[in-house]
Each structure stands twice: as structure tokens, then as C-alpha cells.
């Protein structure tokens, strides 16, 4: 058997950490080259083993368990009972704050907020509130809500949707574009069994930017004109 084969077998014996077989031992003892190769190999494995042993058997840091226990204590600490209430209260405060901000934004002239939001219109048939006579939009919808100029565009869209709906209360809901469909669906679900109809907002992508600003004109208080018929009762009695 050539030296190459012996060497391979000797290396394998060293890798396995076993003593070489008798035939290998005999060759190793008689062949200087194979002996040198085997010794080198053994030295290499000894170095690997020494390094690995040093790495895995090194001393544990003295405070290891104390630190682990401290971490465990933190992990095991139950949440205080008031924690869920606190979270709920915080959420409620946040919602109220956001509502106030939204209301403030809607009532501040010059803000583009309203302009950016498409308006969905919900119609609920009712005979209690009469429409403003003489004011109708292009589709013939009574324009009760249109007495406020800023509501006209929304109303026109609604008019196009509702066509000949004759008597109705106009409920305007401002909805962000990505929530419009969801809200419509939600309301539809809620209204099952009720005498209500829901109209999804039309796609207003193009019209969004052309919507007029929501502006509230300053309130002008003019002096009251006294009518003759407004004479106090005491004077009437004297007459």
C-alpha cells in the first residue's frame, strides 16, 4: 500500500481520536514521512481540542445567576391592575383630543382640510322636515341643506345619485378616501331592518381639488327694526 493511503488512514485515526490499527502503527514506526505527518496531525487536533475546551469550559461570570434572576423577576412581574384602565383612559383622552383638533380645523378659515376630504352623503327618508321650497339642484333634489353655500357641491353629487328622491334629510359625513367604502358598508350593516337608505360617495378624485373651502362668514349683528306690530302689550292696552 502506498504511503498516501497510510497517511489518509492515520489522519482519520487522529480525527477519531483513536489509536491507529496495528498495520498502520507498523508503517508509521517504519516510515519517517508518515510518522511526521501523523504527529503533525495529532498536534493539530490537540490544538483544536484545547481551543474548544478553553472556549466552552471557561468560568461563568460570578454574577451570572443573579443577573438572570433579576431579568426573570422583571419578566414575571404581573401588570398592575390599573394598567388596562390607564391604557383605556389614555386612549379615550387621545380620541377626544383628536376630535377637538378636527373640530377646530374644520372651523378655522383658510385650512384645506375640508377640501381634501371627499364627502359622502347619506339620505334618510323623512316627512317631518320639509324641504326649502323653490330651491332645487340640477337633479331636482330639494336643496334644504344648500342654504349653506359650502354644502352645495356635496349636495349636487348626492342629487346625481338619488335622482328623484323627493323628501329627505341630508346627512353629510366627511370621510377620508380610504375609509369611505368601509364606512358605507358599516352603516349599511347597522341599518339592516331600518327604513334607511345608504348611498356610497361617488368617486371624486377629480373634483376633490375643485371643492370650495369651508368658510364660515362672520356673524353680523344688525340692530333690530321695530315693527309697528311689535308694540309692547302694555301700550296696546293703553290704546
Amino acid at each position: 500500500m502506498p504511503c498516501e493511503n497510510y497517511r489518509e488512514a492515520l489522519i482519520e485515526a487522529a480525527a477519531a481520536g483513536n489509536a491507529p490499527a496495528r498495520e498502520l502503527r507498523l508503517h508509521r514506526d517504519s516510515c519517517a514521512s508518515c510518522r511526521a505527518s501523523f504527529d503533525e496531525e495529532r498536534q493539530l487536533f490537540a490544538a483544536i481540542d484545547a481551543d474548544l475546551r478553553a472556549a466552552v469550559n471557561s468560568e461563568m461570570p460570578p454574577a451570572f445567576f443573579a443577573r438572570v434572576r433579576a431579568h426573570l423577576d422583571i419578566a414575571a412581574t404581573p401588570r398592575p391592575r390599573w394598567m388596562p384602565s390607564l391604557i383605556f383612559a389614555s386612549a379615550a383622552v387621545a380620541v377626544v383630543f383628536l376630535l377637538l383638533v378636527a373640530i377646530h380645523a374644520l372651523h378655522t378659515p383658510g385650512k384645506d382640510l375640508v377640501r381634501q376630504l371627499p364627502v359622502a352623503l347619506l339620505t334618510t327618508p323623512s316627512r317631518e322636515t320639509p324641504a326649502v321650497p323653490g330651491r332645487q339642484d340640477a337633479a331636482g333634489l330639494p336643496a334644504r341643506a344648500a342654504s349653506h353655500p359650502n354644502r352645495v357641491p356635496a349636495l349636487r353629487n348626492a342629487g346625481a345619485l338619488h335622482g328623484a328622491a323627493s323628501t329627505s334629510i341630508q346627512l353629510e359625513v366627511i370621510v377620508p378616501p380610504d375609509e369611505r367604502q368601509g364606512l358605507t358598508h358599516f352603516i349599511a350593516t347597522m341599518q339592516e331592518g331600518r327604513d334607511l337608505t345608504v348611498a356610497p360617495a361617488p368617486n371624486m378624485k377629480d373634483e376633490r381639488m375643485s371643492m370650495p373651502l369651508l368658510q364660515i362668514a362672520e356673524l353680523e349683528v344688525q340692530p333690530l327694526e321695530m315693527d309697528k306690530s311689535d308694540v309692547p302689550d302694555s301700550k296696546k292696552e293703553k290704546q
Binding site: G17, E41, S58, F64, H71, L72, A76
Partner: protein
């Protein structure tokens, strides 16, 4: 929840007490396992990371994870096996973080070369080569190699810990050592010639 409190307040308190007692018992049991297996987690991590501070971080993380799922890991063998594997996995993940690697390589390059190469294992250069060779090993071979190098662990125990037949452990160990030697042979010769 609140209705329950109003109707039967005493029962809720009892429930809470029972729950607290159960938690305390679980914690005691965990502490026992921790005393047995905590060092193992640290050593496996230390074997991969070659750094005690990092190994402690990793071992702690592994132990915390074990604690969170201790109810499913109450069996001693199962716990030990799980902890070893998770510590090994976390340590490997940490080694792979490129930032850590950079720091380590800087440290290696800054380490003063030892004048004597008689003790190869003590040479930082050899350690660096061994480190790299270890990283190139298949993970299942690497884990067996580390566990087999631990004091007080026979190959039979390693096999039991990993839930493997003894023959599989032996063959993994053999191939791991052979592969390491092949990778290191040329490098070590270079070091010796200097």
C-alpha cells in the same frame, strides 16, 4: 370581568391566590432547571462567541425564552435540549451580525502576535483561523463539537441531550474534526514556519 367581581368577590381573590401560588411553584421549578442547565447555555454560547460578555447576554436571552415557555418544557431532558439549541442558535445569529464581526476582527488585528508558536491553541492567529473554520462547519456538526468538548459530558450524554443515536453523534464529531483539520492544516503550517 367587572360583573364577576361584583357578584363573587371572594372567589376572585381565591383564584388570584391560587394563580400566584402556581406561579411561585413554576418559578421554583424553573430555578431548579436553571441551576442545572444555565451553565450549559452559557458554555454553548461561549463556545460559539468566544467572548464571555456576549455569551452571558445570549445565555440570558435563551433562559428568558425558556422561562416564557416553561410550562411546555417542564421535562428535564426536553428543557436541557431546548435550552442548548436555543442558546446555540442565538449565539450563531449574533456571530452573523456584521457589526460584531467587524469589532472582533479589529480586536484580532490589534492583538499582539505571540512570539512562540509552540502552543498553537494559545496563538490568537490560530484562534482566528479556528473561529473561521468553525463558522464554515454545518451547524449540526458544530453543536456536537462544542458539546463534546465540555467537561463532564460523555458522548452518550451529548446523544441524549440532542435526542440523537450515539452513532450519529460520533460520526458528526468525526466529520467536524476532520473538516476543521482540513481547513486549518495549511494555515497552521504557515504559522509554524514563521
Amino acid at each position: 370581568m367587572q360583573e364577576l367581581v361584583l357578584i363573587q368577590p371572594s372567589r376572585t381573590v381565591e383564584d388570584e391566590l391560587a394563580q400566584e401560588q402556581a406561579h411561585a411553584a413554576l418559578r421554583r421549578e424553573f430555578e431548579k432547571r436553571l441551576a442545572e442547565c444555565g451553565p450549559l447555555a452559557f458554555r454553548v454560547a461561549r463556545g460559539v462567541l468566544r467572548n464571555s460578555a456576549d455569551a452571558e447576554d445570549v445565555a440570558q436571552e435563551a433562559i428568558l425564552r425558556a422561562y416564557r415557555r416553561f410550562e411546555r418544557l417542564r421535562d428535564r431532558e426536553r428543557f436541557r435540549s431546548w435550552l442548548v439549541r436555543i442558546a446555540f442558535r442565538l449565539a450563531i445569529d449574533r456571530t452573523r451580525s456584521s457589526k460584531r464581526r467587524e469589532v472582533r476582527e479589529t480586536l484580532w488585528s490589534q492583538a499582539a502576535p505571540r512570539p512562540s508558536t509552540e502552543d498553537l491553541a494559545a496563538s490568537s492567529e490560530f484562534q482566528e483561523h479556528l473561529d473561521r473554520a468553525m463558522e464554515e462547519l454545518p451547524e449540526k456538526h458544530r453543536l456536537v463539537l462544542l458539546l463534546a468538548a465540555m467537561q463532564g459530558h460523555t458522548l452518550e450524554e451529548v446523544a441524549a441531550m440532542l435526542g440523537l443515536p450515539l452513532g450519529t453523534v460520533k460520526s458528526r464529531l468525526f466529520f467536524a474534526r476532520k473538516q476543521l483539520a482540513e481547513k486549518l492544516r495549511c494555515r497552521v503550517k504557515t504559522i509554524e514556519k514563521r
